[in-house]
Each structure stands twice: as C-alpha cells, then as structure tokens.
C-alpha cells in the first residue's frame, strides 16, 4: 500500500515540479496578506497619546501599550502575530483547492484507470492527501521565509532555534494533514469542480475566521470566542506564536505546547479516519 501511495504521490509531484509557475498564486497570496494587509495595521498605533488636547502621561501610555501587546501574545508587531494565521490560511486553502486536480482526474477518466488497477482504495485516497500536503507545506515554508525577509517583518524572540522551527513544522503538519484528509475526501465525493469550490468555500472561510488566525482571541465576543478556542486553527496559530515570540519556553509554556500538540494530533487522527471513510464510500464501484 505504501509503495502504491508513494508512486501515485510521486506522479503528481513530478508534474508540479515541472510546472514551477503553479506555486505563484499561493506565493502571491502570502506576500499580499503579509506585506500589504500585515504592514497596514499596527495595534500599538491605536493607543492615543492625548485625548481632547490633554496629554496622557507617558507611563500610562506605555502601560496601555503593554496591555495591548499582551493581547497580541507579546508579538513585536502585527506581522509577527499574523504570520502564523496566514500560514494556517495558506495550508487550509491549498488543501481545499488542491482537490480540484482530483475532480479533474475523475472527469478525465484517470481515476477509473486507478480503480481498475490492483491497488488499495486507501492508497488512492492517501496519495491524494499527500500530494497536496507536500505542496501546501512547501508554500507554507515559503510564506514563513517571506515574513522574515519583509522590512519590519517577523521578529523572533531571543533563543529561537531549530527546535522551535521543528515545533512549528509539526503543529502545521498535523493541521494540514487532518484538514487535508477531510478536503481530499470531499474532492473524491463530488463530480464537478463547481460543487467542490462551493463546499470548500463554505467550510474553509468560516473555519479560518472563527479562529485566532487574523485577530487575537481577546477581541472576540464571547460566543465566537468559545468556538474559536477549540478550533484547531487557533491551536496551531497560538502554538506557532508562542514558539516565535518566546525563544526559550518556560515550563508552563512547554506544558501548554504539549497540550496543543496532543490536541492537534487527536484532531488529525479523527479527521483522517472520517476522511478515509468518506473517500472509501466515494471510491466504491458506481
């Protein structure tokens, strides 16, 4: 089964590598979000230094700024806060729209030629997940690099190192894989691209907006906050922020990190199972 999954994944990635322009839309999206959206907003600029002509005491202003900063998880600027959210956005959208290739494979009859071959249905499904997983994670890595390279861009806390990077990779790996399974299963279940786009738009955007990807939880109304707190995108984003802003983690932060990772792993396993069951049904003889 693994050999079949690998062969099919390799087929798709080979095509991708031969067409480097294919990553441009994803990359542009990352640059626009970070450079234009991210640069245009700095929460600290909202703090007034005077009200009605009366100057506020600098100590008070600093205190308000620091309180506001903690709402943003201690990020040095908005881009530092936003990067984790944009990476979430990028991986979710890539997994969601990556399914279009799968729908086209069905329409062109390619899927039938796989179905009449002596390979397990699971390998057909998981190769569909893996091909988009690799693409999404690659674009996520590029997004991260863009964030670092931007003027006044992403700023690491002291002590940020390879382990922090590994932690970020694992958190997004789990998020991408889990939702990838769900979206890929949907792609196997629909008959045309329009239906897929309708479904994934309906799922992906609320999922992103009902999380702390773009704005901090502290600004949410309570009903939305309750949803956002259990949203895996929030977990992956918060974990990443913690690892970026604080180079070295305190024991409390480490246990929070472990809790988030376990949460993301459980969600990934659950979504993979649901996804596989949906796909198995969709891949049955018509």
């Amino acid at each position: 089964m693994f050999a079949d999954t690998f062969a099919l994944t390799a087929r798709s990635l080979k095509k991708w590598i031969r067409n480097p322009a294919a990553i441009m839309p994803g990359l542009f999206m990352a640059v626009f979000w970070l450079a234009l959206f991210g640069s245009s907003f700095n929460p600290l600029n909202l703090v007034p230094t005077q009200i009605g002509g009366i100057a506020l005491s600098p100590v008070l202003v600093e205190q308000i700024k620091s309180a506001m900063n903690s709402v943003f998880g201690g990020a040095a600027n908005y881009i530092t806060f936003l990067t984790a959210g944009i990476i979430s956005f990028i991986v979710i959208i890539n997994m969601a729209y990556g399914g279009i290739d799968i729908v086209l494979d069905r329409q062109l009859g390619y899927l039938n030629s796989l179905l009449s071959a002596p390979i397990s249905r699971a390998s057909i499904f998981f190769s569909g997940v893996m091909q988009n997983f690799v693409k999404a994670m690659f674009i996520a890595a590029l997004t991260f690099i863009v964030a670092v390279l931007l003027p006044n861009g992403l700023q690491f806390g002291t002590g940020f190192g390879a382990l922090n990077l590994l932690g970020i990779f694992i958190a997004f790996g789990l998020l991408t894989f889990g939702f990838g399974c769900l979206f890929t299963a949907l792609a196997f279940s629909v008959k045309n691209v329009d239906s897929l786009v309708a479904i994934v738009n309906f799922l992906a955007f609320p999922l992103i907006f009902m999380s702390s990807a773009i704005f901090p939880l502290g600004t949410f109304p309570s009903w939305l906050k309750g949803i956002a707190e259990v949203n895996p995108i929030t977990k992956a984003s918060e974990t990443t922020r913690m690892l970026i802003v604080n180079g070295n983690l305190t024991p409390t932060q480490l246990s929070a990190l472990a809790g988030n990772m376990i949460y993301l792993a459980v969600v990934a396993v659950v979504l993979a199972t649901i996804g596989y069951l949906i796909a198995r049904k969709a891949l049955k003889a018509e």
């Binding site: 087929r11 179905l115 009449s116």
Partner: protein, 331 residues
C-alpha cells in the same frame, strides 16, 4: 476444451432505479478469443465493460472474469485484467515511458522485469522514439498505442478495449487492428473489445454480440451472422425476352427470386453451384445479359436489420447522448 474466461449471466445495470443501461444480458468469452461487442452509441457497451472491470456494481445477475466473481473478488479480477479505456487517461505532463512505468508500478510488476517488458512493448507498438517525450506532444494514434502498452505491461490474461480506434484516421485504425490481432494471435491474450465500427468488428473479431438498448440482439461469428441474412444476392439484367422467374426458382440452390422490369434479384443459397445453372438457363434461351452483379451480405446489413435503421452515430436523431448525460448525472 477451452474454458470460458468471461462468463456473464443476466448482467444488469440500472442507474437510480430508472435508467436501464444494461438489461439482463448473458454471454461468455472463451480463453484466447477475440470477442467484440458492437452496437450504437449508448447501447450499453461501456457499462458492460465497467461491470466486468469492477468499476461498476451489478444491479442484478453475476459475472466472473478469469474465474473470479467481479462482485465478490474484485481485487483478484483487477490483478488479471488489462483495461484500455475510451478516454485518454495517460498523463499529458508525463513522458510516455513515465506513464508506462507508473502503470507497471500500480500493477506491481517486479522492478527487474519492467525495463525489458517496457522496451518490448514500446518496440512492438512503435513508440521507442517517442518514449522520452511528454504525452502532450503525442498524436491521437500514439496516445492510443501508449494506453495499449499501459494496459499490457503486467501481462494480463485478458485485455479490455473500449472503442480502441475511436477518432483515429483510417491508416492509424488499420495499424491498430494489426497490433490487436498480433496480441491475440501471437501472444494468446484474450481480447474483449467494444466498437461501433462494423468493419472493425468484421475484420478483427472471432465472435461478436450485437447490443442495442441494453440487450443482446444477436451473437455469432461475423460469417454466421451474415449467413442469417440469407446468402449473397445476384442481380441479373437481361436484354428483353420471356419471364424466367419460374425457371430460376426451380434451380435447387436458389432460395428466392424477384423480378422488376428486366432485372432479377436472385438470392443464392450456394452461389458456386447456383451461378453456372442460372447462366445455363439464360443462354439456353438465347437471351443476352446486359448486367450482372453479385452482392455479399455485409455486417452493416446485418446490423441495420437487427437494430433498425437508426444509426445513432453522431447524428442528432438518436437519444444516445441524452442517455449518457442522464447516466452521468444519476451516478
């Protein structure tokens, strides 16, 4: 005695309880046979192939391929069959050889055997020069040949060809026939093919079934089916004279005579015996023949007689297209 490599009993496929694509058909194919399903578009040919290749479930009936039940042991069926679909399913972005190797991997051909087998197939199908080119540069004929190679790389016992020459020009089509014949005759691969080109079925198949509107209307070898129409027809035109109808009817090997003006349409049971006698009858009376032609029955005539005069191929008067769209929607 040869064994049946395909056995289908009351094969039925109904989509969403309303559209009967295939309606209780039974047939068998012997090992080593080149068997054809012919019929107009939308007759149920592709649906039959889909059921036999495990892509579609059976609503009713049963079928076994290479001794395995298609519903109960689909995995075993898949191991033993090669499928060349109607659509171009080779990957455009990949090279010909890459497509072939991928197909080999998916059919678990051992690595050390792949190169040799691929080389041999590329040679046989005259694709060696194109193997390292992307498929998007291929012509229609080359794509069909590549797909044939992809369907053969794992040395299947039986090859399913769905409209193998659809959209090909005459020369390319005949070339394809040569390959198919060679695979069947020289290598002993059983072939189950569908086509709506009658001359293709006539020239290639050992045995055919004519299918229309989901049911089999006739089966047999092409000569047998033509025989059913009655023998060849001799048209004889005389330069005036007496009526010979009764005299001609008396000839033993003539089965029917019809007269129209000075023309006689004579259906012959055994032309080699009947023709000399007819000539004798005519010349004995000193009559002169102004025109004589012998027409052998063609598969086209058989087909038209069986399926009615409506050839739904590419014309707007049939509803095969509607039927196909409907099935696509119901799936």
């Amino acid at each position: 005695m040869k064994t049946n490599i395909i056995e289908a009993k009351n094969l039925t496929k109904t989509y969403k309880k309303t559209v009967k694509a295939v309606d209780h058909i039974s047939f068998s194919v012997e090992e080593g046979e080149l068997f054809g399903f012919i019929g107009p578009n939308g007759a149920g040919k592709t649906t039959t192939i889909k059921m036999l290749t495990t892509l579609a479930s059976l609503t009713e009936g049963e079928a076994s391929v290479v001794g395995y039940d298609v519903g109960k042991n689909p995995a075993d069926v898949r191991k033993n069959i090669g499928v060349v679909p109607q659509e171009f399913t080779a990957d455009d972005e990949l090279k010909g050889a890459e497509n072939l190797f991928l197909s080999a991997k998916l059919h678990h051909v051992p690595n050390d055997a792949v190169r040799k087998k691929a080389k041999e197939l590329l040679e046989l199908l005259e694709l060696e020069d194109a193997a390292q080119r992307q498929v998007k540069t291929y012509s229609g004929g080359m794509r069909r040949r590549l797909q044939l190679a992809m369907g053969l790389i794992h040395e299947p016992k039986i090859l399913f060809l769905d409209e193998p020459t659809l959209g090909l020009d005459i020369q390319t089509r005949q070339k394809m026939w040569t390959y198919i014949r060679e695979l069947n005759h020289e290598r002993g691969i059983t072939v189950f093919m569908t086509t709506h080109y009658l001359e293709e079925a006539d020239s290639l198949c050992d045995r055919i079934s004519i299918i229309d509107a989901g049911t089999i209307k006739a089966s047999g070898s092409p000569p047998q089916l033509k025989e059913k129409l009655g023998g060849p027809i001799l048209t004889l035109r005389l330069i005036d004279g007496v009526d010979l109808t009764d005299l001609l009817r008396e000839i033993q090997d003539v089965s029917e005579v019809a007269k129209k003006g000075q023309s006689y349409q004579i259906k012959l049971a055994k032309p080699e015996l009947a023709i000399p006698q007819i000539i004798e009858v005519v010349t004995k009376r000193g009559l002169k023949i102004s025109d004589i032609t012998l027409v052998k029955p063609t598969l086209d005539q058989v087909f038209l007689q069986i399926t009615g005069d409506m050839m739904r191929d590419g014309s707007a008067n049939g509803d095969w297209f509607g039927q196909r769209v409907l099935i696509e929607r119901l799936k």
